[in-house]
């Protein structure tokens, strides 16, 4: 792909027509200000954010729209290249079905509609757009933290009528790119129990040996008291060593498993406050956090211990798997050259070869649009 000169008016806009239960601008998160009490926030499924941004040629941590439980609609006020990642929602562009993990082109005034996610396929879908969503950065990030009214559009969830600016496109014509959806964390949540790996501590010594066994041997259920701040779990009570679960408040991280006075664990996630006063029995490893960002209430969770060294190896593997490899290209099954116009038609095919994960694409001079196609049999 060659870099072309970019017109200065190539920055675009997306209008929110419907925002569903909650749509938020999220990026890699707001680091550097936790010592002043500012939450990090950021995408709940960082894998999906990274993949979406890569598909449209952005930095992996650029801002995208995180859409909870679908039900959202957007209008492209200017032509744009976009991709949907995370939870599969049966999305359409001007009525043409789309699949996750493929980049498409949308012409001016095209309407993107997201239905409800398929049950067991995750909660959060990400809309990444070439150039990135350019709401005003606050303290170095565009991530929305609703509780402290920081980031996104006015520190709140998106509302119908909001217009999101799209940044300048640095690498044009990236539509028709594909990412192997087998690597998407949204898929794991359909398993009977989500297995989450943890590094024990930092305050595992506040718990009795029996308490730690309870934590590692039991199955916990995600309650409906769960959100971007954390997953409140229900299940067997974890015994503390002294009868108290309180410590002098100290710092927490994404994935901290704290145990409050009722003995039932809470896994802290992106929107957590920077500090907390409950003992933390364990810490979920970074590569397993995206699946927690996709787990619905009722989902069963089990915890398995792992060493710091192993978890860091998994993180290096993730980086090689998600951030480095070349992206696939939609398959061209038919192509014609008309003067200087190159037109090809094909289907996307991921490596798993799942028939429900394909989309038909028409590519005109390297710009890929989703198309509807019906089987045509010429009359004899």
């Amino acid at each position: 792909m060659t870099e072309r000169a970019i017109d200065s008016d190539q920055t675009g806009r997306i209008r929110v027509i419907a925002a569903g239960p909650q749509s938020l601008v999220q990026d890699g998160g707001r680091t550097g200000f936790q010592k002043l009490g500012v939450s990090v926030s950021g995408a709940a499924d960082m894998d999906a954010l990274n993949i979406g941004n890569r598909l449209v040629g952005n930095d992996p941590y650029d801002a995208a729209v995180e859409i909870l439980l679908g039900g959202a609609e957007f209008e492209f006020e200017t032509a744009a290249t976009f991709a949907l990642t995370g939870a599969e929602t049966g999305a359409t562009l001007d009525g043409v079905p789309l699949v996750s993990n493929v980049s498409y082109s949308a012409h001016t005034a095209a309407r993107l509609v997201l239905e409800m996610p398929i049950p067991g396929q995750g909660l959060r879908t990400y809309l990444a757009v070439a150039g990135g969503i350019k709401t005003p950065p606050i303290l170095g990030s565009r991530s929305t933290h609703v509780a402290s009214e920081i980031g996104g559009v006015g520190g709140r969830a998106l509302e119908p009528g909001d217009v999101l600016k799209i940044g300048e496109i640095l690498v044009p014509a990236v539509s028709g790119k594909m990412f192997n959806s087998g690597d998407s964390s949204a898929n794991d949540s359909e398993l009977p129990a989500v297995n989450v790996r943890v590094v024990l501590g930092p305050q595992d010594d506040e718990f009795s040996a029996a308490g730690i066994r309870t934590f590692l041997d039991s199955t916990y259920a995600v309650t409906d008291q769960s959100n971007r701040q954390g997953l409140r779990l229900d299940g067997p009570v974890i015994e503390s060593r002294t009868g108290s679960y309180d410590i002098v408040s100290d710092a927490v991280v994404n994935g901290s498993v704290q145990v409050p006075g009722d003995g039932k664990p809470i896994v802290l996630l992106a929107d957590r406050q920077p500090t907390g006063g409950y003992a933390k029995i364990a810490t979920v490893i970074t590569v397993d956090l995206p699946k927690l960002g996709q787990t619905a209430p009722g989902t069963k969770i089990t915890f398995a211990p792992i060493s710091v060294e192993e978890s860091q190896q998994l993180l290096r593997d993730r980086s090689n798997r998600l951030l480095k490899p070349e992206l696939g290209q939609a398959v061209d099954t038919f192509s014609v050259q008309v003067d200087d116009l190159h037109v090809s038609i094909g289907v996307t095919e991921d490596e798993v070869g799942r028939r429900d994960l394909i989309t038909r694409i028409a590519r005109i001079n390297d710009v890929a649009y989703p198309i509807s196609a019906v089987k045509y049999t010429p009359a004899e």
């Binding site: 002043l36 009490g37 500012v38 303290l139 002098v248 408040s249 991280v253 406050q273 710091v308």
Partner: protein, 237 residues
Amino acid sequence: MTEQAPAADQNVEYPRILAVGDSALLIEFGSEIDPGVNSRVYALAGQIEASHNAAVVELVPTYRSLLVNYNPLVSDYREMSRFLDEAVAGANEIPVSAAQPNVIELPVVYGGEDGPDLETVAEHAGLSTREVIEIHSGTDYRVYMLGFAPGFPYLGGLDPRIACPRLKTPRTKVPAGSVGIAESQTGVYPNASPGGWQLIGRTAVKLFDHGLAIANTSPSLITPGSEVRFVPVDNHD
């Protein structure tokens, strides 16, 4: 937000370095709220900042510990542990500063609409509201840490005579600048938020403004290591 720790484990030797998952390490200097322990936390934070270690993402100092968030793709667990061992040893060489801390004066209107719980606190203490105001404004409070919400200070040194339990039912909206008491803590809400502290007054000073970061100034007026002094005033002019 818990103030009292369980009885300290006598077998633990401080400082100690603990793994917090795959991307952070925690250095604990003690298990209690103590100005000397807290000074050690900030001495180490200064030492690490001065090292400009490229793997360090963010430091979060608290009452008794320092959380070091790092990028394991830049430096792994073993390497970071070694780096922190050396930094802890180096920080121990630094005498805990006897320099006068920066004192931030906050004018506060006590009682009335600004402090709807002043009389509750006075009743609980068996004192007059005037005495509660005198006691509360008569001390400089050490800022041990910030947390809970942007710019929210955890202050130490509340006179035990005016300690008071939290509200049974938290308010859904506490006005920005409200000064409160909860158990043996006092603090001030930088922004409107839900909260369960007993509100005794309010300051009109803006405590947190993320716009300030653009001018390369701290977005939080109150910074860790400084001290806060509440100055009683009759009105917000």
